[in-house]
Every structure is written in C-alpha cells, then in structure tokens.
C-alpha cells in the first residue's frame, strides 16, 4: 500500500474536459463534490425552501451537469442558482473542500455572457454596480443626496410612495442612517501625526458606499488601532473591493477593481491592509478569477487585533450584547468566531449573550436582499428571532451589509430599541 494519493490509475485527462472548462472556468471544482450532503443543513436557502436545487449540493450538481452538457439549464434551474447568497457556509463544513464562492462567481459570469440578465432590476443593479460603486465622486454625491433626503422629510413622502412600488420599499427600508458630511469624508481629512513608536503601519480599506455610510466605523477603527500603537494611513485612491460585482458575475469589473486596489496599497507601503467589512475582506483576500493575491497581508480588523495583541486599556461597559458572525468573516475568511468574542470579552462588565446560529447568514448578501426577498426575508426573520431570544440591547456584526439588513429586520419587528453596531465600535466605546 505504498501508492500516493491521486495516483493516475487511468488516463488523467478526458478528451471532453477541456471543453467543460471552457464553458465554465471553475468546472473542475464541481468534481470535488462527492454528493455527501453534509452541506445541506448549513445552507440558509435550503432552510427556507427545502428544495435540493436550493442547496449547495443541488447547485453544484446543476452547474456540473450544465458544463458537461447533460442538462438544459431551464429558467427555473437558473433561478435556484441565482438564489445562492454565496454566504459560503457550505465551504466551512465541506469535507471535500468545495469552493462555492469561486464556482458561483465563475458560473454567473459565464451564464451572464450567454444570457444577459434583463428587466428593470437588473439594469438598475448593473448601473449601480458599474457606474456608481467604482466612482468615489458619485458615491459622495449620492450620499449627500441621501443625507438631505433623510433630513428634509422627503423620506416620509417616499415612505408613502413605496407602498405603490414594492421594490422601492425594500430599498427605502434598507437605507442606513447617513452620517453627517463632516464625518463622512475620511480620505480627505488631514492624516493624524504618525505615532512615535508604532508597532505597525497599516492601510485602512474603506469600501465603496461604506466609506461614506459607515464612516463612524472607520473612525472607531482608526482610534482603536492608534490606541494599540498601530499607525493608520488611508490611501485616498482606493476603491471598491469588487465583492458585489463578483456576486453578480461581473468578473472583468471585479478584476479591474482588484488591480486598482492592489496598486494603491502597494504604493502606500503599509505592513498590512486592514478591512472592517467582512465582505470586502473576503473579497480582498481571495482574488477574483485566480489572479495573484496581494503581496501584503490583508486582515480583518478583529483578526489583526487578535494577532498583534490588544494592548489598550479598557473601561467597563455595562451592556448586554450579542454577536452575529458575518458569513464572510467566519466562512469566507475563516476567522474563528472566538476571535471577535474573545476581544469583546476583554471589556469589563460587558455581558455577551450567545446568539443561536450566529454564523448563519442574515440574508443580506450584498444586494441579494433586494432581488430575492422570497429567501432573504424568511432568513432574516430567523436571525431576528434569534436576536430576540437573547434579550440583548446591542447586536454587534462586522459587515455593513449585515448591519443594514439586521437594522431593517429589527425595525420591521418593532425592535427599534436594539442597536446594531460594528464590534470595533464597542471596543472604541470602551477605550479609556
């Protein structure tokens, strides 16, 4: 029994394999699946419908059969494939090491080329992703408009309008509270003086809309880092991480964005790129379409603090909180849930209540909640139920999309008194 693994007991390459791969670049990854089904209970969409085609195993089966040309991919089947949130929970439990994220991106790209999505929603999405998101100026103007919209009461009028046009309702309900303009323009602000004995120098990744909408989180991140003796720079030319584009199968756009960021952070000469959005972090860590990874380490803010050692003194914070673990942090980046828990547990008097299924998707998935409410809403409902069970007054979650989604869910459930924050904001609040 001295044979090695993957011993070629037969002709290694099949004549047909090449064409399968042409059809679908990540086709060979579908072959990793042995159909064991261990992923199924972990899939949020299967949890809703109970349909095999809404499970990782079913979706891989469909993709493989389509690539091998044994299946005519019907509109129905395509719907099930598009319903994958790409939460990657399946990757965490797959003994065979399935790469669902990459498979989905590649598949959506291919299918998008063959059958471009049609309809108002798709056009809107494409416009938003390709025209607004990559352009900081446009994001800033959009944010200004939103701020005015929310302040002037136009929002209330809109609230009425949304009853007539339901998809608008969801966008309306999901919009986060836009912080004031002076807080938002982070990259434009004058950089703080470098720390004398900095332990490290990191570059803060801002994201696209998050750069504006979640500016307070960025400020908190910078404060916590500096208090821990870490210098922070914010390279101004950075852009969107491309995660949303990858979800939507817009791979060329994602690659362009990726290369831009790689360039920007290389030039910034930092020890690491720090990301406080789980989705962006996952995207920056795994380059799209098998590009080479960044030549500098990328770390989630909590991961970095855990790795480098938290040093800042903390004061007691008498709060009852619960922690939601964003999919792209625990599954996408494989940052163990304990990392966040242990960091927050350093805060005296802070009561952390365990959240049931804390690593299960909340249904946000970038813009998923806008296009697949039939899935996103029941998934969110369960998340909100779990939060309610904890009795916590604060939910900490390390991803802007999840924060917006959970906020929306809490509001809808009449739980306005429960705050949704980034875990770094809690650490920030506890800084002495």
């Amino acid at each position: 029994m001295s044979r090695t693994l993957r011993e070629p007991t037969h002709a290694p390459a099949h004549a047909a394999t090449t064409s399968f791969t042409e059809k679908f670049a990540e086709y060979t990854r579908t072959l990793d699946c042995v159909h064991c089904g261990l992923c199924i209970p972990h899939c949020p969409t299967h949890g809703v419908s109970g349909r095999e085609a809404d499970s990782p195993r079913g979706r891989i089966y469909l993709m493989r059969a389509w690539a091998e040309s044994t299946l005519d991919l019907t509109a129905e089947a395509q719907t099930h494939l598009s319903r994958c949130i790409v939460c990657r929970a399946c990757e965490s439990v797959c003994p065979s090491g399935i790469q669902m994220g990459e498979m989905m991106e590649s598949f959506r790209y291919e299918i998008g080329k063959r059958r471009p999505p049609r309809g108002l929603a798709a056009s809107f999405s494409n416009y938003f992703l390709r025209k607004i998101v990559p352009d900081r100026g446009r994001i800033e103007r959009l944010s200004d408009l939103l701020e005015i919209y929310q302040k002037t009461g136009a929002s209330a009028v809109m609230g009425l309008l949304t009853r007539i046009v339901p998809p608008l309702a969801r966008i309306h309900a999901l919009q986060p509270r836009i912080p004031p303009r002076r807080v938002r323009r982070i990259a434009d602000a004058a950089p703080p003086a470098p720390l004398p004995d900095a332990r490290a120098r990191v570059g803060l990744f801002l994201g696209c809309v998050a750069a504006e909408w979640f500016a307070p989180v960025h400020h908190a991140t910078m404060r916590v880092l500096r208090k821990n003796g870490i210098d922070v720079v914010v390279p101004p030319d950075q852009g969107c991480c491309g995660a949303l584009h990858r979800h939507a199968g817009l791979l060329p756009d994602a690659k362009e964005l990726w290369e831009r960021n790689a360039q920007v952070f290389r030039n910034a000469q930092v020890d690491a790129v720090v990301v406080n959005a789980a989705g962006c972090g996952a995207s920056l860590k795994d380059p799209p379409g098998r590009l080479d990874p960044f030549d500098i380490p990328v770390r989630d803010i909590m991961e970095l603090l855990d790795e480098i050692g938290f040093q800042a003194p903390l004061r007691p914070l008498a709060l009852k909180i619960t922690i939601d673990h964003p999919c792209h942090l625990v599954h996408g980046q494989r940052v163990p849930a304990e990392v966040v828990e242990n960091l927050l547990a350093r805060i005296p008097s802070l009561e952390i209540v365990r959240l049931r299924d804390s690593d299960r998707c909340c249904g946000a998935g970038g813009t998923y909640n806008l296009f697949h409410p039939e899935m996103a809403e029941p998934i969110l409902d369960d998340k909100i139920r779990a939060i309610r069970e904890t009795g916590a007054t604060v939910v900490a979650t390390g991803n802007p999309g999840c924060a917006m989604q959970i906020r929306y869910g809490l509001d809808r459930a009449g739980m306005r008194g429960v705050d949704v924050v980034h875990p770094i904001e809690i650490l920030d609040r506890a800084l002495e």
């Binding site: 693994l5 099949h14 109970g50 065979s96």
Partner: protein, 911 residues
C-alpha cells in the same frame, strides 16, 4: 399528470421542472441515477397521505426521501416515480425527559434532535457519520448505524413507535411509547425496510442520558494488523468501549488535507480511535487495561483527549472521512460489508489485495468494534472502463466479507447498489419469504420499487439442507402439564429428530388439511390467544398475551385441526466463536445448557429466567419475555442477529446472520422474537453476547410506604444511575421493597452503589445487606420468577403485565390496588414495578375461590388501563390464567389497521 397532482398539493411544493428534477436523480450514491417524474415536498402527514393515495389510485410508484445522504441508492427513483420529499417535516413534536422519549417528524435531522436535548443532558444515541445532515426518517428506513453503535446499538434499538402511511394511503401506528415485550414487532420490521412499506410520518424514539465521562484515545500504528489485533484484544477482555474506529493510511492523508484535519500523523499505517464512556468512577480501570493492550501491540504513539475540544478534533477526522475522499478523486464508491470480529484482519488483507488486482484506489475507514468495514474506492466516474473495474472490485470485496461469515451491508442498506448481491447471502427460499412479506404489505409494489430484491430469475436455488441437528429414530414425548391443560394435548407429542423430518411432518399435515404448531418442552404452554379476542391491538400482539409455550408455541390450539410438534431434540450449538461475541444455536437447545456453556467463556445473553423454569431457545424466542434486566439491555430481540426457520410446505429459510450489524433485507429475525409460534418454526437463532460483568451486586431496601419506595426508584433514575434492574416489589403482606442490581466493572458498581445508598439517606428506609455473585444472579432469577407461574401452578393464580410510562407506574399501581381492595376478594397480590421500563407485573392468587376466581381481577385491570389510556399510552397482557379465558387486557391505543397488517404478515409465512 402533474396538474392532477396539483389538486392534492400546492403548486409551489411540486417540482416539475425537468432541470430541477435532475438534482433528485441520486442520493449519496451517485453511481445510479434516475430523475423522478415529480417531487412532492410534503409539509404534513395529511399531505403525505394525499400524495400516497394519489399514487395508489394512479398506480404510480413513489419513493420517500429525507436528506438524500443514503449510500446505497435507497432514495434513487425508478422511471416515472413520484418522490415524496419529507425534509420540510422538521418539527420536534414533543420531548418527555422523564420517560426519555421524543416524538419527531421524519425530516428532523439526527443531530438536531440531540442538540435539542443536550442541554438537559440527553442525546439520541445512534450517530451515523452523516448525522449533521441525515434525517431520522431516513435513519429508520435504512436502520442506520454509526461509530457509537458499538455500545448503544443501532437505530432499531432506539425506535419505539412509528406512524406510517402504508402503500394504499392508509395510516398505521406501530408500536407504542410504552415497553411492550412480545408480539409481532412491526416497528423492527419497518425499520430497515428501505421505504418499501410506505412513508414514515412520525417517529417516537428513545432518548439516552449522556454519559458522565468520556475518554478518547488515539493509537497510531505502523501496521494495520496491529490496530486490528488491538481491537480484538480489547473486546476479548470484556471491555466495551463506546466506539472502536480504524482509519487507514490513505484515509488519514485525505482527512488531514481537509477542513476536518484532526492532527493524525501522515506516516501512520493505521490509527485506532477508542472511546470509553460511562461513569467517571470506572474510567481509570478501563483506561489502564486499554493502555496495556495498546502498548502490547507496539504503537508508534498513543494520545488521549480528555477535554471536549480535543475529542471533537479526533472525531472530526473520522466523521468527515467520507466527504474528504472527494480529494482523492472525483467519485467515491463506499462499501459496507460486515464480518465477524475475529475475521477483520484477514478480510481487510483481502480487500487490499482485490483493490490491487483491479488497479483501483481503496481506502478503509471502519467501525472495527462491530466488524463493519467501509472500503472506499475513489475513482473518476467519467471513465467507464475504470468504473467497471471499481464495481467488479466492490463485488469481490463484498464476496470476501460473505465468505468470512459476514454480510453485504452493515448499516447502509441494500438499495439499488447491492440488490444484485443479495444472492451472495440469500437463496430463493430466503428471498421468497421476504418478498412474500413485501407482497403482504404492498401488493402492487408501489413503495420504493426496484430496491433490495434482485429479479426472481437471479434467485439461487435453495441448497439441500446439510446435516442439521438430531437424526435418530422417530420419537415422541408425553405432553407437559401446561400442554395438557392449555393445549388439549393428551396424546404423545411427536419430536422431530431432524430438520428433514420436521419438513416431512409439516408437509404431511398440510396435505391432510391440518396445521402443525411449534412446541418445545412444553414449559410455557400455559396460555394462548385466539385472534378475535384482542382486536384493537397494535399488531405487536399476535397472540396478544404472552400466550404460549415453552417450545415455541401456539397458533390456534382450540382448533382441532392443529397439532403440536416439538423441536426440542433439534438442539446443540451450530456456531460459536467466543472472540466474535456471537453464537448460533439450534432451537431445541435448553436454556440452562446454553447459559452454562456461555458462562464457561465469561459470556452471557442478559436475560433471566426463573430457576427451574427450563425451556428451549425456540420457546424463549417465541415468548420474548421481559426479564428483570430488560430496561438496561433490551428484549431478546435486541440480542438476536439472525434466525433460520421453517414456513409452510416445510420450506426452510434464513434471515440475518452472525454479525452484529446487518441491514441486508428485512429484519425478519426480530419479527420472530415474540411471535408466539404464529410465524411457523424457528430452527436456529443467532445471538450477540455480552461479557459477564466483572462485578454484580444486588441490594434491597424496605420502605414504610408505597410512595417512598417509588420516589426512591424515581430518584435513582433521575440521577442517571444505570442499574441492571430496578424494581419496587409490593405484596399484600409485608412492606414495599425497592430492589436493584448493579453490573459493570468493579469501581463503577461500587460508585453507583454508594450513590444509591446516599439517595436513601433521609428516607425512612431500611437497607438490606448487599448480595454479590453468585447469589446476585440467583436474585435476578427470583425477580424473574414473579412472572413465571411454575410448572404446576397453584389454583387461583393469575399473572398479568401492564406496560406504562415509567412516570405513571406508581399511580396506576395504586389505582389497581385500591380498586381491588374494594372488591374484598381477599387474595394475595404481588406488584412488581420495573422503574426503568414502566412494566408493572401483577401476580395474584385467590386460593379459596375456584380457578375462575382469578379472572375476576381482569375487569379491574381493564378499567384501570382504560382510564390511564385517556391521557397516556398504556397496554396490558395476561401472562397466565388458570381458566382458558384468554383475553388481552385492553389496549385501545391504536385505532389503526395494524392488526390487519400483522394478520397479513402472518399469512405470508403460511402460504
């Protein structure tokens, strides 16, 4: 057609899209593929009934599917079939921790049930490696095993009752939440029937307390042989770990490359996972013994995991092994042979040799303690030539298991995959009986057709009966007292001298329009039950009462066209290899002889008969009595591994085998346990054995009153102590007495004994001195004798047994007593409450009346049971009555056609 099905199910729960249907074309075994015609995603039992009725009306085959993780193609459709997907039926309906029972829907995931009760310290014990995904409905259909089944038993040992939709769309309730020993065990028949009897819609299962302590060890070897030797030595020494698992080199490497990496060293040839569980007190002793054995086999290293995290890591690798094979090649063929434990090493060698010869890549990860092998063949299914070699190698490997005295499936089921291999173990007679049972339940073969059974043309001709036991000149014996009294047997009873003679006699009787019914020594021929007297039974009770006899016994003795035929001369040991912990014995073997033989090897089957009871193995099987240790170890059926029997036309058949895990075909052997002779003759029975415990200790305490005694028994149970027997015995003269027996390794016994004594403190009880072996065994026999009327019972004696929830025994027992006191019949009454099972044995005697006086208690029992039944499951059985008024005490539990079902199954044995 889909349109018409829409009338029974909402559109959004019908899958009709051709592309989407493709994902249902296979389960965990993608070798066989066939998309269904539609998929019906059912949400409730009512919907299942509607869909099955629709199928029955349209004559469309249907297949139930849970998570689709099965490994034998059991959920793979046949052309044109409707797939009934129950994975949305995920509700846990109720959990009763006091009585340790859960009621769940079939789509509940195995692990989710355990998670729901783990906070309270319980679990659902069977743990297939896919437990995080597989459904309980699927587990029952396949009778799943799992690594921890070595100690806790397989699915079948944990299912109490089922609600099923039969293939004609009728609902049936089988079994009940209360322990009902004896009777046709339809629950076990349905368990492992692979969906061929209908769709399971509700499951009542047993919850098991989680062990106080768990210790896990990893022994790393540079040779597979050393790992196997360690396993056999551990079992031989009478240590019963909860799991003994081996992973071979290739498996180790694949697992280590996966997310389930457990830190197994990559240069090892084999790792052996050993897990002990139980009371902390007994751990050190077993640990020392195991360490000694492991070290004696020259390991590279031995590790131990004491904290849950380390343990999870060691197990993670084992549980993820199957999926991790995806790293070896694109497809995986998982085999599931089971061999006697002593043949493990040699069979494994053959497996590797076969793989080499066929040039296929095999890795082995298996339940070594059970002898359950899982050769995994990795291959690329797109290569047809390779696939053919893989299948050929697989077949040879299974043949090797069969040749070693094993079987072709230990826990995965036959499905489509191994249907063609069934002839390796069963001939035309064996398969004929199984199919006859199938026909009795599903005459149209609509429920999961095309599974388990090969085409009739492939059935091998039955082999000529090789020399069985017996073989002298024709003989007969005089009828026993019970046979004279209860069977109307005055003439000598013929005793078959050989199996051939038995067959001849059956055929002769048939040709004369008579039916012969089995007898043994006649030791238990004291009661029987005509059919019409126990309508409303749940089908478990063909003789309803423990009618019947010391040989196996009787169908319908009141009919003069019936005559007794004894198999008591067909005795002897057919197969016994102590190292395998199994034995095969002929039906006429005397129980006392068997016990002596086993004891000589430090082994036993944990049943207890009254001293002087006598009787044969066949008779024991026919009655399947509940002994004092029933609560701890289960019924006789639990220990039965296989049978050989004789049905109509003198046709000899076998079912099951000599291995401890076996899901090859229906569990007919379990059907025979408690069949009261209604299913023809038993010729041979195979049992699994247990080591005689190192120490056995019996205790008793006298209490001031009933409440106190029962409260103490409940406290022992609540404290999760594990007595081998725990009774409250109360007689009309004398104070209530609680009595209990400990078994196990010496420290465990001592610790539990101390715990129980501590529980006594503060109660007004008087502890009686402890009794050790051999008196402790005698003590168990005395407990057993409460249910035994004796060879010549005194007049006015009656014995009955009530099946109640353990939490209700005390109340019902008092209820009966006060009702009896009102009648002022002035007899003696002994009440023995089994606190572990909820079985209440009543033994009364009204000496001054005539025999019929004993009957007068029956209406009181009936009324009491009927009252209890209004809120809790309850059933009752007459064990002995001197008059021939044979009645089943009410069991109006189940208003379902299960009784008819039992009747149809019975008929299958007689046609």
């Amino acid at each position: 057609m889909a349109q018409r099905l829409e009338s029974v199910l909402p559109r959004d729960r019908l899958v009709t899209d051709p592309a989407e249907l493709r994902v249902y074309e296979c389960d965990g075994l993608p070798v066989h593929r066939q998309p269904p015609r539609f998929v019906a995603l059912c949400d409730s039992r009512e919907e299942v009934v509607k869909v099955v009725r629709w199928c029955a009306r349209e004559r469309v085959p249907f297949i139930a599917r849970g998570a689709g993780t099965g490994l034998s193609g059991g959920a793979t459709p046949v052309p044109g079939a409707v797939l009934i997907d129950v994975n949305r039926m995920r509700k846990i309906r109720s959990i009763d921790l006091v009585n340790r029972i859960a009621v769940v829907e079939p789509g509940v995931i195995n692990l989710h049930l355990s998670q729901a009760v783990e906070g309270a310290g319980y679990h659902y014990a069977p743990d297939p490696s896919s437990q995080s995904a597989c459904t309980l409905g699927g587990n029952i259909a396949e009778n799943s095993g799992g690594p921890h089944c070595l100690k806790y038993g397989v699915t079948s040992d944990h299912v109490l009752a089922l609600e099923v939709v039969l293939p004609d769309g009728e609902m049936a309730r089988l079994g009940s939440a209360v322990a009902e020993p004896g009777g046709l065990d339809l629950v076990s028949l349905f368990t492992g029937s692979e969906g061929t009897f209908g769709v399971i819609t509700e499951i009542t299962c047993r919850l098991t307390p989680k062990p106080e302590a768990v210790r896990t060890y990893l022994a790393i070897y540079d040779s597979m042989a050393a790992a196997c030797r360690t396993v056999s030595e551990i079992t031989r020494q009478g240590i019963l770990p909860v799991a003994l698992e081996i992973l071979d080199q290739r498996t180790i490497r694949a697992v280590e490359a996966s997310v389930y990496a457990a830190g197994y060293p990559a240069n090892a040839a084999a790792v052996l996972l050993i897990e002990l569980d139980g009371f902390e007190a007994g751990m050190d002793q077993d640990e020392e013994a195991i360490t000694r054995i492991v070290q004696a086999n020259a390991p590279l290293e031995m590790r131990s995991a004491r904290d849950p995290k380390e343990r999870t890591m060691l197990w993670k690798g084992r549980k993820g092994a199957f999926g991790a094979m995806g790293r070896v090649d694109t497809d995986l063929y998982v085999l599931d042979g089971c061999v006697p434990r002593t043949r493990l090493e040699s069979t494994l060698e053959q497996v590797y040799e076969i793989a080499d010869r066929h040039r296929v890549v095999v890795s082995n990860v298996f339940h070594a303690g059970d002898g359950n092998l899982h050769p995994n063949i990795s291959y690329d299914g797109r290569n047809a030539e390779l696939t053919a070699r893989v299948l050929a190698a697989g077949e040879e490997m299974l043949q090797a298991c069969v040749d070693a005295g094993g079987t072709i499936s230990g826990e995965h089921g036959i499905g489509i995959e191994k249907r063609e291999f069934m002839p390796m173990i069963y001939d035309a007679n064996d398969l004929g009986l199984q199919v006859a049972i199938r026909d009795a339940i599903d005459p149209q073969h609509l429920a999961n057709p095309g599974k388990i059974f090969p085409d009739r043309s492939a059935w091998p001709a039955p082999k000529e009966a090789v020399n069985g036991p017996g073989g002298g000149a024709p003989r007969s014996r005089s009828p026993s007292a019970h046979e004279r009294a209860f069977r109307d047997a005055q003439a000598p009873i013929p005793c078959a001298q050989s199996i051939a003679e038995l067959a001849d006699r059956i055929r002769t009787a048939e040709s004369e329009g008579r039916r012969v019914i089995p007898a043994g020594t006649g030791a238990h021929a004291y009661a029987s039950m005509p059919h019409d007297d126990h309508g409303g039974g749940d089908g478990k009770a063909r003789g309803g009462s423990k009618a019947s006899g010391g040989g196996k016994d009787a169908g319908e003795p009141k009919d003069s066209a019936l005559s007794l035929l004894s198999t008591e001369l067909l005795e002897g040991i057919a197969e016994y290899e102590p190292g395998d912990f199994t034995i095969g014995v002929h039906a006429g073997t005397k129980l006392d002889d068997l016990e002596r033989l086993l004891a000589g090897n430090g082994q036993e089957i944990p049943w207890d008969t009254a001293s002087g009871e006598g009787g044969t193995v066949g008779g024991l099987l026919a009655r399947a009595p509940s002994g004092p240790r029933y609560g701890r170890y289960g019924s006789i059926g639990t220990f039965l591994l296989g049978v050989e029997g004789m049905r109509a036309r003198g046709e000899r058949y076998k079912a099951g085998g000599m291995v401890v895990k076996n899901v090859s075909g229906y569990q007919i052997w379990k059907l025979l346990a408690g069949s009261h002779g209604a299913l023809g003759f038993v010729l041979r029975a195979n049992f699994k054995l247990r080591p005689i415990p190192e120490r056995r200790l019996a205790r008793a305490a006298v209490f001031r009153d009933h409440e106190e005694a029962h409260a103490f028994a409940a406290a022992v149970r609540e404290h999760r102590l594990e007595p081998a027997a725990l009774f409250v015995v109360e007689s009309s003269s004398g104070e209530p007495m609680a009595t209990w027996v400990w078994e196990g390794n010496a420290p465990t016994v001592a610790w539990q004994d101390q715990q129980a004594c501590d529980l006594l403190a503060g109660r007004s009880a008087q502890l009686v001195d402890a009794v050790e072996e051999p008196q402790a065994r005698t003590f168990l026999r005395r407990l057993a004798s409460i249910a035994f009327p004796g060879t010549t019972p005194p007049p006015g004696l009656g014995i009955a047994q009530l099946s109640l929830l353990p939490s209700r025994v005390s109340a019902v027992s008092q209820d009966i007593l006060s009702a009896l006191e009102k009648t002022q019949d002035g007899g003696e009454l002994v009440r023995a409450s089994d606190a572990m099972t909820g079985l209440l044995t009543l033994r009364w005697r009204i000496p001054e009346k005539d025999d019929a006086g004993a009957d007068r208690i029956l209406p009181i029992l009936s009324r009491s049971l009927a009252r209890e039944n209004k809120s809790n499951p309850a059933a009752g059985t007459v064990l002995y009555l001197p008059s021939q008024a044979r009645r089943k005490i009410v069991s109006p539990l189940h208003a379902f056609p299960a009784e008819g079902l039992a009747r149809r199954i019975e008929a299958a044995f007689h046609t």
